[in-house]
Amino acid sequence: MAEAVFHPPRRKRRVFESYEAPFPVDVGGKDFRVCQAEIINNNVIVRNPEDIEQLYNKGYFGKGILSRSRPVFSISDPVLVAKWKGVNTNMPIITSQKYQRRVQWARSVLQEQGLDDGSVTKILDNYTKPLGLPFSKGDGAEQTGASCSRASPNTENTELCEPSSGREDPEGQNGGSEKEGDAAMDSGSGSKDQEKGDSREMAAGSCQRDPPVYCGCEVKQSPEQRAWEVMDSRECAPEYVLVQEEEEGSSCPEDDSTRVQENLVKKEVLICRKNPFRIFEYLQLSLEEAFFLVYALGCLSIYYGEEPLSIVKLWEVFSEVKPDFKTTYMAYHYFRGKGWVPKVGLKYGTDLLLYRKGPPFYHASYSVIAELVDDNFEGSLRRPLSWMSLSGLNRTTANASKELMLCYLIRPSDMTAEEMSTPECMKRIKVQELIVTRWVSSRERSEQDEF
């Protein structure tokens, strides 16, 4: 009998990230942070941006719902960002068209609230008015309109102006001092009254002015909107964007323009405005990931409504949502216990993909199918495979430079349903790993065979 040889995973050629920690817990127990998640429609969602960062950066748990994996959603247009390279800013840069679309969406939300057109227009115009000086091409860092990227002097909270994406660095590097009497401040102090009737997104903006407790939302009339205001102060912060627009009545002759046309040059400038329809990206955790964070590490609390759920309850609830949850969870737990990062294997037709250290560093090494059997080593299989299907699966796996692994979870026959109703049953479960390999009979190959 020969055992499969372990082939160390290949490192990715270009790694853009640095490794923080294997798990979102500190070894030693200091500064232990318990993150929060909620169950919405049978999905586990994390909304707090700090929690999102913690969970993703340390262990690669979850997936941003608007991103490919790491939550990096931004409405910024990369083409424009490249175009306006000279401008030193962290704010997203979008086209005027895109911005107008958002204004439209905000408009329809306000209209749904029953406000008449006049008020809607007034509110919107006020909210979306330009802040600070417009950017032109060739503007240096001094004119970054630091005003709009700084907190108002009314509050201490300097992080409010972070764009919604997961970017860490604060905008502080936008130099320049705060300019008094600018539009940002004006709109800040003066608009409190008007913003009382705002939609949730814009009222969110008013939170910035008041201490977080007195969210402008609280003075709102419609109670159903209160339900949305579970956000913390950070989420209430308005998002500032740079909108590329054509300047009317340009008066900066010395600036170079992007389009070299003759006299009537419509100069393109960047104008800082508030985004009236902000989209928040959340982190979605798979059921296995969520349960692992709660049960194995104890660093996550999952709420259903207002109520945090106990471990046994979660085990039960998740098993109802996904009938094979226990099987896939046990495999997940086993591989996490070995220091590997399992992610969902949907794209390869299997249950899990195993990464060493994390997706950014190494290519996934193993594609795993998990099956639960009794201690006669038989059981009703989730994926009964013929040799033909196995062959096909092996082929696609090999094409992606992965190895196909079968993971059998062996459960003692005397394990009752009651015992399986808690995750403690795992202590009596054994795990058998098998690797599927193709044997090539042609003679040249057999010399190098690992047999």
Binding site: M1, F32, P308, W387, F451
Partner: protein, 487 residues
């Protein structure tokens, strides 16, 4: 030119196909000239299901055929193969068999179906030596451990000298990991013999372990010699030491004394307690009397010597005194009347200091696995959360052997470059063993896999899948994912 991928109904395509078929038929029907002198004559014996040679065997006799009652014989698949090669002429009832007839006639047994033959032929053409599998030739795990294989090989030689180090297995080694864990790491064969096999230690039959994870199953074999089992499993992180597994040496007994009621006087210089009450008679040995006493006079006589510290010690004391304070200066500590209370106080303080444990997780029947204050390294963390136990492919396999439904192994395959040294009478250990299966069958269950892996002994097993003449080979191998801690 370009391949045609599907029928397009055109006349040109039909014509091309027709010409290809014609060509193929023509090639097949060509007569292959052979020198009649070289052709070995052989006769098919249906009652015995074998082929008897009527003239002396040629070169093929080195790796094929067998002798029976003085006659040279071939197995049906060997004969058919040689017929196709043009090395033998097959007769049945005095008439030569055509290839077509030979296929039909010789391959009607259960042991050698068409698919079996196709695998045989495929491997032979690649130069492998292929023999039928015979379960009785596989040494049992017991025999392997005693290295009887080497004795079989070197029959007639003296027993090799067994050095002490070569029989570690005679010591009964109790291993900590639960249940059956053969030496998954392969070679810790400390034998100096050059059998060189990595001996997969079999599980329970060979040791007198009190704990049986396959509870309820009687031992298949009761081996007289208690042999220790896999000494190491360095990859196992599971804290699988179930309480009942230990011999009870660390069992917690209820203490005989209630220490909360027994007071011990403190006669330290800073806490003079001069009145010592009479000790409880039950604490004293029989002929010893105790009485109460006023130890004041004694106290003046103890702690006389001035502790003279070396300069280094003094300096250290100075340093420490800046940061340390007497534990007794703490009022709360003073309220503790015994160690138990003191420890509880420490625990409370620690909890307050560390973090607030969410009660919906911690005040429940099932709590999180990780206790962060207890782990000091990532490896320790992994150990705390690893509760699932590893299993080896051969675990529990021995008790599955009596199953009549078990899969059969078909061939032993030896490598082509072993031809020169090959001895039919003593072929040695094959390179691989083959199980011939069909493509649309289900893959073997774990149970079937264990059975057949055990049956194969320590030789790797390959499944040969036949699909209308196309053959693919797969194997399902035991694997243990290593633990990855040092990122």
């Amino acid at each position: 030119g370009q391949k045609d991928f599907r029928p397009d109904g055109s006349a040109r395509q039909a014509e091309r196909l027709r010409r290809c078929c014609e060509e193929q038929w023509r090639l097949l029907s060509e007569e292959r000239p052979e020198r009649p002198g070289n052709l070995v004559k052989a006769e098919w014996k249906p009652e015995q299901g074998i082929v008897e040679l009527k003239s002396p065997a040629g070169k093929f006799w080195h790796t094929m055929g067998f002798s029976e009652r003085g006659k040279q014989c071939l197995l049906p698949e060997e004969a058919l193969y040689l017929l196709e090669c043009g090395s033998v002429q097959l007769f049945y009832r005095d008439l030569p068999l055509s290839i077509q007839e030979a296929y039909e006639t010789l391959l009607c047994q259960e042991a050698m179906s068409l698919s079996h033959y196709q695998v045989f032929s495929h491997l032979k053409q690649l130069g492998y030596i292929v023999l039928r599998f015979d379960p009785s030739t596989v040494p049992s795990p017991y025999e392997r451990q005693l290295n009887l294989e080497s004795h079989c090989k070197s029959s007639g030689k003296h027993h090799r000298k067994r050095r002490r180090s070569s029989s570690p297995r005679l010591h009964e080694k109790k291993h900590k990991v639960s249940g059956d864990l053969p030496e998954a790491e392969g070679t810790s064969n400390k034998d100096e013999d050059d059998c060189g096999d990595s001996i997969p230690m079999d599980e329970k039959p060979l040791s007198v372990q009190p704990k049986e994870s396959d509870a309820g199953s009687a031992e298949g074999e009761s081996m007289p010699v208690p042999l220790g089992i896999g000494q190491k499993d360095s990859l196992s992180f599971s804290s699988s030491q179930a309480g009942d597994h230990k011999e009870g040496s660390t069992g917690t007994h209820a203490p005989r004394w209630d220490f909360t009621t027994i007071t011990f006087p403190n006669v330290a210089p800073d806490q003079p307690c001069t009145h010592l009450s009479a000790p409880d008679n039950r604490l004293l040995p029989e002929n010893v009397l105790g009485r109460e006493v006023d130890a004041a006079s004694w106290c003046t006589r103890i702690n006389q010597k001035q502790e003279k510290l070396s300069r280094k010690e003094r300096k250290q004391r100075e340093r420490e005194s800046r940061y340390k304070s007497s534990v007794n200066a703490d009022q709360e500590v003073r309220h503790c009347s015994n160690w138990q209370e003191y420890k509880a106080l420490l625990e409370r303080r620690r909890q307050q200091r560390v973090w607030k444990r969410p009660s919906h997780l911690w005040d429940q029947a099932v709590t999180p696995l990780l206790r962060p204050e207890e782990v000091t390294s990532p490896a320790a963390l992994l150990q705390q959360i690893s509760v699932l136990q590893p299993s080896h492919i051969l675990d529990g396999a021995s008790r599955l052997q009596e199953d009549p439904e078990a899969m059969k192994i078909d061939f032993n395959v030896y490598q082509a470059d072993a031809v020169s040294k090959f001895k039919k009478t003593n072929p040695g250990k094959p390179h691989v063993r083959m199980c011939v299966r069909s493509f649309d069958e289900q893959i073997p269950s774990l149970r079937a896999l264990k059975q057949v892996t055990y049956l194969s002994g320590d030789v790797p097993l390959v499944f040969a899948l036949v699909d209308h003449g196309e053959i693919t080979f797969y194997s399902l191998k035991e694997f243990k994912l290593p633990v990855d801690v040092n990122h």
